[in-house]
């Protein structure tokens, strides 16, 4: 029982990170109809920026307070992501309005490689550490409830807390502010949004900024767990089945989809893995997503698109 719960919780924690990356996909797709392949590259770029800024700040100023240095690095990296968002909109997307989805996808594929390269040129291509002072030792819970208790990583708990706070902030932003309302409006109907004076270009910059911040948080957490390295970019591919599962147009879908995939991966690895041989973790998510596609092509929570024939 304890072991099952531990696996389950481990899966939820891993799923939370998938959710964050998937959220980045969904935000941009909803608002602009662009499937942003570069989300993973943005995670890597943001994490690299933050890791290096933190390093440079401590080296240059002799600041030894880890938290302050990281906070400044976070803000600076956020500013870098805003600049990336603005440049992407200004230099690429603005000129591709009303193009085919495939064209836009190819454009973001280009951005992916460009960002991967640029990030390593500016920030270097070694493995860097983001040390935000996460406690590494696990926590023993519910020892009195059942035998052996429950071993939970403190690091994962804090990561989950940060993710939840981010989602709460985004919800507040989307539901309570006029900009959030405008974002939702643009997501539903471009032309109507323009007709009431909502500037599409500015909205797209904002949504890329938000996706950039989401990427930064994901990169920060992932980077502090695994180190900041090139493979972070591939993390995005692990989140693709999440997006398919949850539906490309649904924010709750991205979050729940991430959790389902995270839990599914861990449980299948631990309980099915021994029978079918290892490595199930790698393809399980894709199979799960494919099965969902068979029954619900729009994903679990996605909008059903009905076209007039």
């Amino acid at each position: 029982m304890g072991f099952f719960l531990e696996t389950l919780i481990g899966g939820l924690m891993a799923g939370m990170l998938y959710s964050l990356v998937a959220l980045g996909f969904v935000l941009i797709f909803k608002a602009s109809g662009v499937f942003n392949f570069a989300q993973g590259a943005m995670v890597l770029f943001a994490a690299l920026a933050m890791a290096r800024f933190a390093e440079w700040i401590t080296a240059l100023t002799g600041l030894d307070n880890l938290l302050v240095a990281n906070l400044i690095a976070f803000v600076l990296a956020g500013a870098v992501m805003f600049a990336v968002a603005w440049l992407v909109e200004y230099l690429v997307l603005r000129h591709l309005v009303n193009q085919e989805g495939a064209t836009l996808l190819m454009a973001t594929l280009g951005i992916t490689y460009f960002l991967d390269g640029l990030g390593q040129t500016i920030f270097g291509s070694d493995i860097y550490k983001i040390d935000i002072g996460m406690p590494k030792e696990p926590l023993m819970l519910f020892e009195s409830v059942f035998e052996g208790g429950l071993l939970v990583s403190q690091e994962d708990l804090i990561a989950a807390g940060i993710s939840a706070a981010l989602v709460a902030m985004l919800t507040l932003f989307f539901q309570k502010t006029s900009t959030g309302r405008a974002l939702r409006a643009v997501a539903d109907d471009h032309q109507a949004a323009q007709s009431i004076g909502i500037p599409l270009n500015r909205i797209w910059v904002i949504v890329w900024c938000v996706a950039g911040v989401v990427a930064l948080v994901a990169g920060m957490i992932w980077g502090s767990k695994l180190g900041v390295q090139f493979s972070l970019s591939a993390v995005a591919l692990r989140a693709l089945p999440v997006v398919i599962l949850g539906g490309l147009t649904s924010v709750p879908g991205a979050i729940l989809g991430g959790l389902i995939i995270g839990v599914g991966e861990k449980l299948s690895e631990v309980f099915l893995g021994p029978y079918v041989g290892g490595g199930i973790e790698i393809w399980f998510a894709y199979v799960l997503a494919l099965v969902v596609l068979l029954f619900r092509p729009q994903g679990l929570f996605g909008e059903k698109i009905i076209d007039r024939v």
Binding site: F173, T177, A182, A193, S195, I196, G197
Partner: protein
């Protein structure tokens, strides 16, 4: 309606020509719209009515001609700038924000006027809260006016068609426009819904003094509520005048009924 104070020219359309590749949608169209009037644009299918409206709305940029709004000429405008100038519109095929509630849909129409800081808005404090309440009050007035109080919190996607059309109108009204462009506000409605919509259009025109430009298929509706009518056929203007004049115009009659040559 005889006591209506129809004012000066508010919208002046001059020599507009619009083509999509080789297809001429509009050829040399000129007409004007006076303040406070209800101006109808009619014509058979494919006559270019919606194209005309889209030119005024800045969705299309005509190859030739100018459009002047309150004396100011514009030729390279997008819809957003047109909205800022005080021209709002509704859509022929509903273009509402389906996932949002009726209230939120109409609130988006106030977006141009909301000025407070986004952080204050998110936390709902201080001046942001006051501002939100002011706009909310205005939107409530519109909701009362359109008699959709009961559906305030309903996602618009779930409403029947006739009510969705009202929400579309409400969103446009929330901009407090000088000119309201209505693209077939009564298309697909039953008789009762049409009567309601007619009443709302007349009331908007009457109470707020809003100038209305509307496209409509239903001739009886047009004759009932409009002050003057422009008739288009194959992208050309074939008639312009009061409903009475237009009705007796032989060219208009042949365009609608066909003539034997």
């Amino acid at each position: 309606m005889s006591d209506k104070r129809i004012g000066d020219v508010i919208l002046d359309v001059k020599n507009i020509s619009l083509a999509f590749g080789g297809v001429k949608a509009l050829t040399d169209i000129s007409f004007d719209v006076r303040e406070h009037e209800i101006r109808a644009i009619i014509g058979p299918n494919g006559a270019g009515k919606s194209s005309m409206l889209n030119c005024i709305n800045g969705v299309y940029t005509p190859q030739k001609g100018t459009i002047a709004f309150r004396g100011q000429t514009f030729d390279h405008m997008d819809s957003r700038q047109v909205a800022e100038m005080g021209i709002a519109r509704t859509f022929q095929n509903l273009a509402l924000f389906k996932g949002m509630s009726v209230l939120d849909n109409i609130m988006t129409g106030r977006n141009l006027r909301i000025k407070s800081n986004i952080l204050l808005q998110a936390l709902r404090i201080g001046p942001a809260e006051r501002e939100e309440m002011q706009h909310r009050a205005y939107v409530e007035q519109i909701i009362d006016f359109l008699e959709i109080q009961a559906y305030r919190k309903t996602p618009v996607g779930q409403l029947p068609y006739g009510l969705q059309k009202r929400v579309d109108l409400g969103r446009a009204l929330a901009l407090e426009p000088k000119v309201l462009l209505l693209d077939e506000p009564m298309a697909g409605m039953n008789v009762e819904e049409k009567q309601d919509m007619c009443r709302f259009i007349l009331d908007v025109n009457d109470e707020f003094g809003t100038t209305v430009v509307l496209i409509e298929h239903d001739m009886s509706v047009v004759m009932d509520i409009s002050d003057s009518v422009v008739v288009l056929d194959y992208g050309k203007k074939i008639g312009d005048g009061t409903p009475e004049e237009v009705r007796n115009n032989p060219e208009v009659i042949s365009a609608y009924l066909g003539t034997s040559h």
